[in-house]
């Protein structure tokens, strides 16, 4: 990282200094303006990873469309999944403004060069998982994305504002589903608790490694791409989610959980980072399946893209 920084300073120290001053003044950077190469690189990496996560995230939820327990729950789930696809498209569009085509970004995903959020490598085993995803996974995403709406890159910030509005629906429909389960039979309550037990820790991992182990965070914060650290964001999520769990009778799967009256924050056990890095390295329960499905859908859609293009060019000639 240091060598890259030095290199970009060496590229043009005067422009870089003016750029950093603009960031400190809270200005937004727009696509055609000068930016350090490392700023462009970090943004492209982070935004494309975000876009891939939205699209891969459609898979665990799609698993339950045909088995939704009522027509209302089914249309809600369909609308939510359509939103996730939309979020992916907003983000691909914003990433493209940095100079990389969507086709190349998708190629990077398929070749394993780009990542997506590891949380989507866990399976959705019972109906309450759909509630847990909306409430916990989207809840964690909202904390992160509310911060990102203030990011220094204009197109990313604008995409986030739009996404945050829609995530509110995702989060609330999830919690609403969990309430319905907790008001149900003993079996339904057990399903909700089971989903809680399996999604709580992966949701906490979504914020990434501890600040002291996150080399990207330092640079992302320097460039005001991120305005708050992984640990601070995680703590915000923990503090606002635990009361929501308790009020509907769900237990947080953490024997060491306690509220610190002095700090006003909840304290949890440490996260199982071995599990986190294992899933990132491709050894999660569903990594292979998620990537296989994405590649398959992409390849099977190829003739549609070609046919539409052929149709368009034929009508242009006429």
């Amino acid at each position: 990282m240091e060598t890259l920084e030095k290199k970009s300073v060496a590229e043009d120290p005067i422009l870089e200094e003016a750029f950093m001053t603009r960031l400190l003044n809270g200005e937004k950077i727009e696509p055609k303006e000068w930016m350090p190469e490392n700023y462009r690189k970090q943004l492209t990496r982070m935004m494309s990873q975000h876009a891939h996560s939205e699209v891969i995230g459609m898979q665990p939820e799609a698993n339950w469309i045909t088995r939704a327990p009522s027509l209302l729950r089914k249309v809600i789930l369909l609308a939510k999944i359509q939103d996730e696809g939309g979020h992916g498209l907003y983000l691909y569009g914003s990433t493209e403004t940095l100079g990389t085509d969507r086709s190349e970004l998708i190629e990077q995903l398929h070749e394993g060069k780009a990542k997506y959020s590891s949380v989507f490598n866990y399976p959705t085993l019972n109906w309450a998982d759909i509630g847990a995803i909306g409430w916990l996974v989207d809840g964690a995403a909202i904390v992160n994305q509310t911060m990102l709406a203030k990011t220094s890159y204009g197109p990313y910030s604008r995409a986030m504002l739009r996404i945050c509005k829609e995530e509110g629906f995702h989060n609330r429909q999830g919690y609403d589903l969990m309430i319905a389960m907790m008001r149900g039979t003993k079996e339904q309550q057990e399903m909700a608790q089971d989903a809680m037990n399996r999604w709580w820790w992966p949701a906490l991992m979504m914020f990434g490694p501890h600040d002291k182990n996150s080399s990207n965070t330092i640079e992302l914060m320097k460039y005001r791409i991120k305005l708050e650290s992984n640990d601070d964001l995680r703590q915000q999520f923990i503090d606002r989610t635990i009361p929501q769990a308790e009020i509907i009778g769900l237990t947080i799967p953490d024997p060491n959980l306690k509220f610190n009256k002095e700090t006003g924050h909840y304290e949890t056990s440490d996260i199982n980072w071995d599990e986190f890095f294992n899933v990132i390295r491709g050894k999660g329960p569903c990594n292979k399946q998620r990537m296989h499905n994405h590649i398959q859908a992409h390849e099977e859609g190829k003739w549609v893209r070609e046919a539409a293009e052929a149709y368009a060019s034929k009508h242009k000639q006429l």
Partner: protein
């Protein structure tokens, strides 16, 4: 287009502008990939107006948009800075006169 036959097509980029209500300006809200104007309109509708955000949509090929460069900003916009007489506030009248 013919030269790109071997490459997987993601179609060209269209910029999307939405008018949120009657009388409002059309506001840029993002982009879509589409092979032609009909599909660009359809995709823009699906992507940017799922919650009644619009009553009318413009789409146009991104490659046809002409934009000024940020580096030109000084020569383009600075000359306006010293023309304060273009603003109504420049003109002061005695008390008691209502314009």
């Amino acid at each position: 287009m013919e030269t790109n036959q071997k490459k997987d097509s993601q179609w060209k980029v269209w910029e999307v502008f939405v008018q949120s209500k009657t009388g409002a300006s059309f506001t840029h809200c993002g982009s879509v990939h589409a092979p032609d104007k009909e599909m660009a309109t359809q995709y823009a509708r699906d992507l940017y107006t799922r919650r009644s955000e619009g009553r009318s949509i413009w789409v146009l090929p991104a490659e046809d948009i002409v934009a000024t460069q940020p580096t030109e900003a000084a020569s383009l916009f600075d000359p306006a800075d010293d023309k304060i007489y273009r603003h109504p506030q420049f003109y002061k009248f005695p008390k008691g006169i209502h314009m």
